[in-house]
């Protein structure tokens, strides 16, 4: 079910790369700071999965909505979540997106449409439907993207959500980032059916199975789904094939993963492949791309230092924001 209906122009290709570069720089800085002990956090690295949100987000506007999961910082950065507020939140500081009270699993930034990040597998989807329902009611043309992994396609919320989205013809895009692993359990041990995209048919909706590491294919799939949603023609399930380079939680020994499999995927890292292609096809020079990368390295480093230098929330914050009107 590959689709090549849409081709990204050179400006879009460069923008996709730019976002990938941001995501890669942020992941590398995060892992570095955890390794050297400056940052204490449980981190779900998305390294290897940068293409999906980069290619998706160039089709979205600030006011479109995003729901994602604990392995979702790439989705959020691509959507426009600011780096400083991200780092402060990850570090539990009051300048974070959520005053330090949510942490990386609950990053929220409504100004850029980042409405919910959840730590419960599958729970991005039912709430995404609600955001899509609101857009449908108001007729404002906004679409909602719900991100989740392959293992989430087996939880009840997936089934309830895809069914409701189909029946109500909601402007929602379900993006399944299939990295072949659900925590420590491989796809073939947890998921019935060859392709998750095939499940879409069962719900009466469109499904696209795509190489999520190919920026061109991913862009096309994303644009098709976004345009379908904006036109009021209902939801799409995109199953984007990819791989995670750092296991489930960063720091795990990953003993359950065949080293040869992992090595093969890391060797086929889509980042340098796309980078080389941009230079080869004259979309950008080596110097331009190197500058993009260097600028992001500096920006991410500055954001990380900002985060760590920020204040912790005051003690009184423990008991605020439980209710709007006091209980």
């Amino acid at each position: 079910m590959l689709t090549n209906t849409y081709q990204p122009d050179t400006a879009t290709q460069l923008e996709i790369f730019r976002r990938m570069a941001l995501l890669k720089a942020n992941d590398e800085r995060t892992r570095k700071m955890i390794t050297n002990g400056r940052l204490m956090t449980v981190y779900y690295s998305y390294r290897g999965q940068e293409v999906i949100p980069a290619a998706m987000s160039v089709n979205l506007k600030d006011e479109d909505y995003l729901c994602t999961i604990y392995r979702g910082i790439h989705d959020m950065l691509a959507k426009g979540l600011p780096l400083k507020a991200l780092w402060a939140e990850v570090a539990g500081r009051v300048d974070g997106t959520c005053k330090g009270k949510g942490g990386p699993m609950h990053l929220t930034y409504p100004e850029k449409g980042v409405m919910v990040t959840t730590g419960v597998v599958g729970s991005s989807m039912p709430i995404a439907n609600g955001l899509a329902w609101a857009s449908q009611l108001s007729g404002n043309g906004r679409v909602t993207v719900a991100n989740f992994g392959d293992a989430a396609s087996n939880i009840g919320a997936f089934h309830e959500s895809l069914n409701l989205a189909s029946v109500w013809k909601l402007p929602v895009i379900f993006v399944c980032q299939n990295n072949r692993w659900g925590e420590h359990t491989a796809y073939h041990l947890s998921t019935g059916g060859e392709r998750i995209a095939d499940r879409a048919k069962g719900y009466g909706m469109h499904g696209i199975h795509v190489n999520g590491n190919d920026p061109f294919a991913m862009y096309s799939a994303a644009r098709e789904a976004v345009e379908r949603a904006r036109a009021g023609e209902g939801p799409t399930l995109i199953e984007a094939m990819t791989y995670r380079f750092n296991g489930h939680v960063f720091g795990d020994a990953d003993r359950y993963i065949d080293p040869a499999e992992k090595a093969k995927w890391i060797e086929a890292d889509p980042y340098p492949i796309f980078r080389a292609r941009l230079v080869e096809t004259g979309v950008a020079s080596e110097a331009e791309l190197a500058k993009i990368e260097a600028d992001f390295d500096a920006e991410v480093e500055a954001a990380a230092e900002f985060g760590l230098a920020s204040e912790y929330p005051a003690a009184g914050e423990l008991t605020t924001d439980v209710y709007g009107v006091a209980a």
Partner: protein, 335 residues
């Protein structure tokens, strides 16, 4: 005749009061939505008719019948509420809230806090329950203690039409998730009609009857059973004060402590099973605040620690009633 006098002249039942509250709320605020199984008029306007007339009047975009998908129902409500809508979701029976616990407890209750106050979830979850019609072990439970035990949720349980109307209106106004527990056997119990637009504040109790020997603290259907007990208590020379909490979380500590401070004796009566019930929390607060001033230990009356049985005599034995309440109160006062 004034509006208030006219309202008093024609009693309505709880079901009609809830229906009226929804009609009035939807008429006043275009952001109010209704969703749930069978709620639209094409599907009978709700399994007991609470939502009757709404889809006809306000359209099938604002009033939507859903598939049998409790997680999806609550998730849709949450999502729409994040961006300006006020969804009133129906979970047909309180036992089915269990299917949506992740959405209710992990999400609705916590998104305001976890977002640092940048988003909030102004949803209402209406749900029906109550033993008495032999619907059995999975269609009759009271789970208010679970939800009251979750920071970020509010829980109310009206007993009469004025409070059904007023609390539902307040719940819809509330910027946080509110669970409204409706008792099914008393849906058709008539009472004073509400005044249009009148709100009952969440967290405020109603003193139903004043007395001096013992305070009965109750909510939902058991308020009616307590009212039935009052006559028997009067005959036995026991003067009982009856408080209808109306709200379980938050609950009216001030009113309860003032009353028990006066009478020196407290009995909490709820239909939910006694062990680990809401009564345990209320009893603990009373005991802590009024230790030394109590004339008797704080008592709780509720269902026994069993599922709700099907067979009619067993179900009747399961439920607290006016006789059991009166007996316990007389024993407490007269020793």
């Amino acid at each position: 005749m004034s509006a208030a006098a006219e309202a008093k002249a024609k009693p309505i039942n709880n079901l009609a009061a809830l229906n009226l509250a929804l009609h009035d709320a939807m008429a006043e605020d275009p952001q109010v939505l209704v969703l749930g199984e069978d709620v639209a008029d094409g599907q009978e306007g709700g399994v007991t008719g609470v939502t009757r007339g709404l889809s006809t009047k306000f359209g099938e975009k604002r009033v939507r019948s859903t598939p049998i998908s409790e997680q999806a129902i609550i998730g849709a409500a949450i999502g729409a509420s994040l961006v300006g809508y006020k969804p009133v979701a129906e979970i047909m029976l309180m036992n089915f809230t269990t299917v949506a616990m992740d959405m209710i407890v992990n999400h609705a209750a916590k998104l305001r806090y976890m977002s640092g106050g940048h988003t909030n979830v102004p949803i209402v979850i209406r749900t029906m329950t109550g033993a008495g019609f032999s619907t059995g072990g999975q269609h009759s439970d009271y789970f208010e203690a679970w939800f009251a035990h979750t920071a970020g949720l509010k829980v109310v349980a009206p007993s009469c039409p004025e409070d059904c109307y007023g609390l539902l209106r307040s719940a819809i106004d509330d910027p946080d998730p509110v669970l409204v527990i409706e008792n099914m056997p008393i849906y058709w119990t008539p009472g004073t009609a509400p005044v249009s637009g009148a709100r009952v504040p969440i967290g405020k109790a109603r003193i139903v009857a004043e007395g001096s020997d013992v305070t009965l603290i109750s909510y939902s259907r058991m308020v009616h059973e307590c009212q039935g007990a009052l006559a028997k208590l009067g005959e036995a020379g026991v003067s009982a004060e009856l408080i209808d909490l109306r709200s379980i979380s938050p609950w009216d500590r001030e009113a309860v402590l003032a009353s028990v401070g006066k009478t020196g004796r407290a009995i909490i009566v709820h239909e939910a099973v006694v062990p680990f019930g809401a009564g345990a929390e209320i009893a603990a607060v009373i005991s802590e605040a009024l230790f030394g001033r109590l004339k008797a230990p704080v008592k709780r009356i509720g269902a026994p620690f069993t599922p709700v049985p099907f067979s009619k005599p067993l179900e009747t034995a399961y439920l607290p009633n006016a006789e059991k309440i009166a007996e316990a109160a007389i024993a407490l006062v007269k020793g």
